[in-house]
Structures are given as structure tokens and as C-alpha cells.
Symmetry: C2
Subunit: 260 residues, 2 copies
DNA sequence: CGGATCGTTGATACTTGTCAAAGTACGTGG
DNA sequence: CCACGTACTTTGACAAGTATCAACGATCCG
């Protein structure tokens, strides 16, 4: 990465600008890259946002894709009545803005939950470079496919799991993502409110809070506000799989499952 | 489209093979195309499937994308315990197989609900052609973005709407899709079982059945098994928007809403 | 015609939402 | 540095929504 002068992008926090090369992008996307890309002068700008700032918003004209370089965000859809629905909590390596391609304007918005750094990928430029560097094009398709897979997993989870199981799965998901970024998979901080967790998982904030409290009381996790420590991963993993499946005589509450 | 001899693809119904040109593909994807594509000899094969046949399955190596040319299908995810979760009901113009790109193998399966025709798009070939024909590449990105948007809508719906509203929204969705294909938006046949509707909408088959019956009794639709006629579109559209929003004092049942 | 699948409906229990109240953390301004 | 207001979190009691289980009717297909 290369340092240059200050950026003056609207909304961006005031700071020194960094740039990423094509191999940097591929590494972030966790995709193979060929070294032909390495000695290029084409670079992608980093932009920093403070917690609460918006990266893009609904209706804004689509020009950029973004890759998260550091920090935590939320991807929010806003329905006709102005209600917010959280779609995902993007973090390092995630691709943002894909939903803007189709209608040439974003139909969701992304905001920073923590201070974070995002890499700007001008879509036209990217698409052009893809013709030269096959690996880059593959990285793009791969990343879009991965986002689609995640959405599918989300749909399946919302459709078929109980609130208890969805919260358990959420904790495991975060644990895996943190592990992938080199952080502890056992202990981490939730960077969102109960309301946001509830919205994401399709339940009220009270239910989300209750489930977390219940896991804490059962000794499955140790919870103190936003700080979570996983004490019994296996118990969480068992909760991953359904209640809500039909004709399932092994249906039990978390408590009775532990007692057994 | 061009006729040629018989196909002998495994699983394909025995029939005359048709082929689609690049402009055909773009038209199906509802994307602009330039006429440079028109006089090309590169053609994409049609394959016909009978109701119940599988187009691709979980774990199968990814090679193809598919576009639905005619008929109705279901896209199913299978979880660790062998439970089926319906992700979508693809129909004319929909792109299939995108979830296979990321890991180079499909992680869901697609089966035909009715006899249907699907166009084979070898991914490598497509990706190569994209370098020559910008419009094709844009069509691909656009179609993938559209699928992602649909998933987002689905997540939002599952997270925030009551069973009643989800079923209402499902009927409207089908109506819109049928209209887009030139069929009646008022009267159509559901091509799936109550079980499949329930799986798609995150509820039991009994709840799906009850909601449909209730709309029928209220005169919102006329229901006879799989045949649906929409009698009061406005009532359905009102049901689209939430119950389940928090602190919403206008919360009413379908019945009281009609009475008011 | 008979079996199998699909659809409907009812009774009941459980899960989750709703509403209310109180406690806790956090940031801002005095 | 403390006081205060605001936002966030927890917990309880209750109501509503939905799943579960069961039985029966309808339809389709060989």
C-alpha cells in the first residue's frame, strides 16, 4: 500500500490516504492472483469513515463498489414505511454495493458501526481491468457469488430456525469471521445494538436480549453487555440445527438439552 | 433461435434442440444489447426438462450458468440434516447457478416444477465473450445484481412481515412475474405445493394453507386448489406492509382492516 | 377403482411479540 | 469532575401468532 496526500472526499474522515494495488484487492477477497498484476501503477483509494457515517445511501447513483479493509458496518434496507431492516454486518474482505449494479442506483445503504476503512473500486474501471487481468474478473464474480451464498444461508436460517437457534448461529458466525481476521474466536465484542441484532435475525430486540441472557445463564457464553466469551461452542453448535423442523420428537429447550 | 438435431444430454428430455444467440440472451435478461452481437455464430443450447427432473444438484462441479427460457422451477438448499429449504421459484429470464462460482461447485439444487426449457451458458465461454461484448458482461453483472436484490427483499420480508403479509406479498410477486411474461396478472396457477410455499415463506404448510383460505373467505382472492384469482389487489397490497412493526398502534387483522 | 399425495380444518401448546418499568452505560455541558 | 439526559439493556407479565398433531376430504394417476 502507498501513502499520498489527504483525501477530500465528502463524508470521509480527514486523514492520510492509502492506496491498494490489484494483488491487495485479490488478497482481501481471498482469491488467487497472478503476479502480472503486481507491478502496475493502477491503485485504488482507501477512505476512512468514523462510526455512524454513511458510505452510500438508497437511491444514490451507482458508480462504485467497495471492499471493507477494516472495521465494522451495517447494510440496511429501508422499506416503504421507512422501517430499517438490517441485511448484513459487512466486515474485512466483504464486497459492498453490488445491489446497485442492476438499476444503476443503490437500493440499500451502508453505514459504519465503528471507525473503518473502505477501498473504492470504480465499477467501470474495474470492469475494464477485468479484461486484462482474468484473475481480477474471477475475483469479482467469486465475491459476488459469495455474497449470494451468504444471502441464501440467511434466508434458510430465517425460514427454518427458532429465535434461539438463530442467535446461536449468529454468535458462531461472528466467531468464525473474527477467527478469519486473526482475532480471537472465543472472545469478542458485538459492535451493534440489540435492536440491530434483532433486526438482522428477524426478531425483536427483547427476544435477542433474552436469548443472549439465557445462553449466559446456562453457561454457554459469558455475556457482559457487548462483550461475549464463548464457553461451550458445542452447545451453540447443537442449537444451530433446527427446532421448527416438523415431526421432530427430539425437540427440547436449551435447558432440557443441557440437562440430558 | 435455430433448430438442429437431437440433444443427448443426461437428464434432458428427448427432443429437438434449439439454440439462442447473444441478443436472445440479453433479451431474456431484459438488458440492452448492441447489434454487433447479432450476426455471430456463437449459440447457446436449449435443454428441456420434464417436471420433477433436476437441472443441477448440491456438490456438483460448477461449469454452467443457466437461464430459464420457459417453465417453472424451484431452487432448494439442503441443510446438514437433509432438510429442504426453498430459496426461490425461478422462472423465465432468471439466472441459475451463480452460487456455484465461489467454491466451483453448486451449493444448492434446482429442479423443474413443470416441464421447462433452460439455456446452457458455459461459464468460461461466457466470461471470454464478455471481453468482446461489453453489453454481455453488463448483462451478466446486472443479472447477478438482480438476484442479490431479490434475496435482500426476501430477507427483509422474512425478517419483518407476519405470515399473513408474507403470503400476500407472495401472491403479488407471482402476479407481477406473470404480468411480466405476458400472462394474466389476475388469474394464474400456483405451480408448487403448500409445503413448498410454506418452506419458501418460512412457515408450515398448514399456516400457508390457512392464510390462503382466509384470503379466499374474505373475498380478497378466489382460491380453488392451485388456481388463484386476485379479486382485491389493494387489500393484498395493504397486507404487504407490516404487521410486526414495533409500537405500531394501527395493527389490525385482515378482517378488521376490511371492516374499517 | 384404489392408493398416494396433496389440501383443509380444528384443538391445543409453545414461541415470540408487545407493553411497561427499571437499571446501566455513555457523552455532553456545566 | 460531576450531573444530567439520552440511548441502550434487561426483565416481567401478558397477548398474539404460529407450530404441532390429528383427522378427514379432495385430487390425481396408474
Amino acid at each position: 500500500m502507498t501513502k499520498t496526500g489527504n483525501t477530500n472526499l465528502p463524508g470521509a474522515a480527514d486523514s492520510v490516504t492509502l492506496w491498494s494495488s490489484l494483488p491487495d484487492i485479490c488478497k482481501l477477497l481471498n482469491t488467487p492472483f497472478d503476479h502480472a498484476m503486481a507491478n502496475e501503477e493502477c491503485r485504488f483509494q482507501h477512505v476512512q469513515y468514523k462510526a455512524g457515517q454513511r458510505i452510500y445511501t438508497v437511491g444514490q447513483t451507482f458508480e462504485m463498489l467497495y471492499i471493507v479493509s477494516a472495521g465494522f458496518l451495517k447494510n440496511v434496507m429501508i422499506d416503504g414505511d421507512g422501517n430499517e431492516q438490517i441485511l448484513s454486518f459487512p466486515m474485512k474482505g466483504d464486497l459492498l454495493g453490488v445491489d446497485g449494479i442492476h438499476r444503476n442506483q443503490y437500493c440499500s445503504e451502508v453505514a459504519a458501526l465503528s471507525d473503518c476503512t473502505v477501498i473504492l473500486l470504480p465499477f467501470k474501471q474495474l470492469s475494464l481491468l477485468g479484461k486484462t487481468y482474468v484473475a481480477l474478473e474471477n475475483a469479482m464474480y467469486g465475491a459476488m457469488s459469495r455474497e449470494l451464498m451468504r444471502d441464501h444461508t440467511m434466508v434458510a436460517m430465517l425460514s427454518s430456525l427458532s429465535a434461539e437457534a438463530r442467535v446461536a448461529r449468529f454468535i458462531i458466525y461472528l466467531s468464525d469471521r473474527f477467527a478469519g481476521m486473526g482475532y480471537s474466536s472465543k472472545q469478542f465484542n458485538l459492535c451493534m445494538t440489540r435492536q440491530e441484532i434483532g433486526s438482522y435475525l428477524g426478531m425483536t430486540l427483547e427476544t435477542a436480549s433474552r436469548m443472549l441472557s439465557s445462553f449466559d445463564q446456562l453457561g454457554i457464553i459469558s455475556l457482559k453487555l457487548r462483550s461475549v466469551e464463548i464457553l461451550d461452542l458445542q452447545a451453540l453448535q447443537k442449537l444451530r440445527r433446527m427446532p421448527r423442523s416438523h415431526h421432530n420428537d427430539a425437540k427440547k429447550t436449551a435447558f432440557s438439552r443441557l440437562a440430558a
